[in-house]
């Protein structure tokens, strides 16, 4: 087995890491944005429920929006941390594998949050389907 600390990725690999770092950082910002929009929509839905929604559906949907705002913000933060480590793989020398493993850990945390977020979204979407299209309506 080669010494992990001595391994250096080549220029083509570095370009791939930089591209992934850029995408991860931008998707992280999008996560913050999505969280902010969901939180704003949830608060607005509680304060001033939309008139075209059934009265029983508005608070449910607003609460789901508020709950759904937390994971994207958290995932965005973790993705940006992972992006920093990926950038370090490409922009530093002598510690590439350590930076890659830090990025792997960061991505693993981000995807753990994403799994929670997707699970909440799936349950939320199923509730919305049930509320908007009740059986026999």
């Amino acid at each position: 087995m080669a010494d992990a600390a001595s391994h250096e990725f080549n220029a083509a690999d570095d370009a791939t890491f930089l591209a992934l770092a850029g995408s991860a950082a931008r998707v992280g910002v999008a996560g913050y944005g999505l969280g902010f929009v969901l939180a704003a929509a949830g608060l607005l839905g509680l304060v001033q429920p939309p008139f075209h929604l059934p009265p029983h559906a508005a608070p449910v949907i607003a609460t789901l929006c508020l709950l759904g705002a937390v994971p994207p913000m958290f995932a965005g933060h973790q993705l940006r941390a992972g992006a920093r480590s990926l950038r370090a793989v490409a922009t530093t020398a002598g510690d590439d594998v350590a930076h890659l493993m830090a990025a792997v850990d960061g991505l693993q945390r981000a995807f753990t949050t994403l799994v929670a977020m997707l699970a909440i979204d799936a349950v939320g979407l199923a509730v919305v389907v049930a509320v908007m299209f009740p059986r026999g309506a």
Binding site: T16, A30, M101, V104, V115
Partner: protein, 132 residues
Amino acid sequence: MSSHEFSAAENLRFAALARRLRLTTWLLLALAALVAALSAEAIHSLWWAGPAGARFGILALAGLVLAMVLAVLACWIHRAARSFRAVVDTAGADVTHAMTAVRALGRSLRVLEAAAVASLALTAVAVVAHLR
């Protein structure tokens, strides 16, 4: 370069990421199925409402596009998961597998980026249309 082998401890971390990615794939596919079901409901409503229910058609179209984006995303994340798992399960080409996984993950994040930009543009159009 490609003869570099990751250690057992590092393999555990790759395996954990591969598991999360695989779980993400299944959840994305479940979401795609739910959105497609919602689109089918909208198409059903359009069928009964006729031209007056054009908004149902727009909802159905948006839902089908979203379901397709989720399915494409799931496909790339699944490829990344497979390659990260290959880092753990195979010997002799760890770096090659890791770079394949990184490229697949990069493509999936670019799909997410495009979806985020498209959502932003659609939101802007909806806000402008609402204000007019």
